[in-house]
């Protein structure tokens, strides 16, 4: 049984489960819908805010696009697959897979990899659809790739800290909320804004803002983002493994 064969069977099963659950299906397309709204509504809003209130929101375009491109798509797809992982935990399907040629380790690797693979396409797609405040193509693609780590983090956070669907909705809101916290750094000067670095998405946001404003040091923040997000992903994966083996 090759990895590809295992993944193919699991993907088919995942697609069936998602398409049979309206909520999950909606969450999955939500990020694309929001990107469309950003593309068409934000420039019109910018005109209105200048005309009526004399406030120019164009300088904040990169703030908006960083969220759309780096955490919104990743977060949504991660949460949807987090629901499936929680479901597998609740229904003990994980046990059944663990005593099949898939094994627990392979299943978990797949479950973390799938949202990241989907986000690999979704992140640049959302950025392209939003189309405002984007950095040059190179940094944009590089940061979109690093941003996929957040998808795996979202999946594991939901499946690790929620014990049931009710708690999962609370965790979902928490993940969405905390992923926006580092955006506040945009309004705070350095070095104080580095405090937001406690939230791993901050470093990628920072890299995006620097690249969008034409700066050349964006890659330093990208590397820090890569390291912090990877470490966080590793830590939460360990927590999930302990949780399953204990239970």
């Amino acid at each position: 049984m090759t990895w590809l064969e295992i993944a193919r069977g699991l993907v088919v099963t995942d697609v069936k489960q998602i398409t049979r659950d309206r909520f999950l299906g909606f969450v999955l397309v939500y990020s694309i819908m929001l990107a469309v709204v950003v593309r068409f509504a934000v420039p019109r809003l910018a005109v209105v805010t200048v005309d009526r209130y004399g406030v120019d929101i164009v300088p904040y375009y990169s703030l908006i696009s960083s969220f759309v491109a780096l955490t919104m798509g990743s977060g949504m797809v991660g949460l949807v697959l987090g629901f499936l992982l929680l479901d597998a935990r609740e229904t003990r399907v994980i046990e059944a897979l663990s005593v099949s040629p898939v094994t627990f380790e392979r299943f978990l690797s797949y479950r973390i990899a799938l949202p990241m693979v989907v986000a690999l396409g979704l992140n640049p797609l959302c950025a392209w659809i939003a189309g405002i405040g984007l950095p040059p193509l190179g940094p944009m693609l590089a940061l979109s790739v690093v941003g996929v780590l957040f998808a795996g983090i979202a999946t594991l956070t939901l499946a690790t800290f929620a014990d049931n669907k009710i708690q999962a909705f609370a965790i979902m809101k928490l993940v969405s909320g905390t992923s926006m916290v580092p955006l506040a750094a945009y309004f705070v000067d350095e070095p104080l804004q580095y405090l937001c670095g406690l939230f791993p998405p901050y470093w990628l946001f920072k890299a995006w803002w620097v690249a969008a404003s034409g700066g050349s040091t964006w890659w330093i923040y990208a590397v820090i983002g890569l390291i912090t997000n990877t470490l966080f992903l590793w830590w939460i994966k360990r927590r999930f493994e302990r949780l399953v083996h204990k239970g």
Binding site: R92, A96, V102
Partner: protein, 283 residues
Amino acid sequence: MLNVSDLDFTYPGMDRPAVSDLAFEVEEGEVFGLLGPSGAGKSTTQGVLIGLLKGWGGSVEVMGRLLHEWGADYYEHVGVSFEIPNHFLKLTARENLDYFRSLYSSETSRAEEVLELVGLADSLDVRVSEFSKGMKNRLTFARSMLHRPKLWFLDEPTAGLDPVNARNIREVVRRRQAEGATVVLTTHNMQLADDLCDRVGFIVDGRLRVIEAPDVLKRRYGRRAVRVTVETATGPRGHEFELEGLADNADFLATLRQPVRAIHSEETSLEDVFIQVTGTQLT
């Protein structure tokens, strides 16, 4: 087929081992029962043998290889029917089974075939979320035999089933045994164990107290006698006779000439043997 020696396992954070110094062998083609009350260590033992629990001590050899030497290919040969059903609830029974079939490189049975065996053929395309607990249990059992495992672990396979379906399950196990499968049955249902097992091991407080064939145990701990109840003018009256020399026992033959109400063997049940051996009630 299976050789376990000095098996120890302690759950993280616990002071006392869940199982300790376990040693037993299971021959190829045998149905071996691990019997004991809840919390005795049956499921822990199974958890180790099916590779779900890590960090155990001792030695476990399965199909000629040490357990830790096996990789994912172990599960090409091993089937597990869990006590608690575990399925993709949004998928139908067929979709669940077809998915699991796709995981094995060896030849597998069709979903229709195994569902027919457990009486679920007409629920093939019903979502599992609509199944009753008994139906889910039967689906778990059906899934565990999809790849015709050489070594088959069954954890309370008839729990929650009505008598007809429980009998079906027993017949399927016997048929698979006749085809060469080795079965490790974990249960606290002594009747089921008595029906199916070639040998049983009594496990209490994580330790195996005895391993023997059910018939041998019943003979060893039971009374070899029959009780004949006859109708008399003053009401029913019972007489007990030793099996030894029964055909030549004049009193027995004379009793049979009276109106016999009932004849019962005084052979003990496996449950009584368990209580005598372990001093523990089954719960």
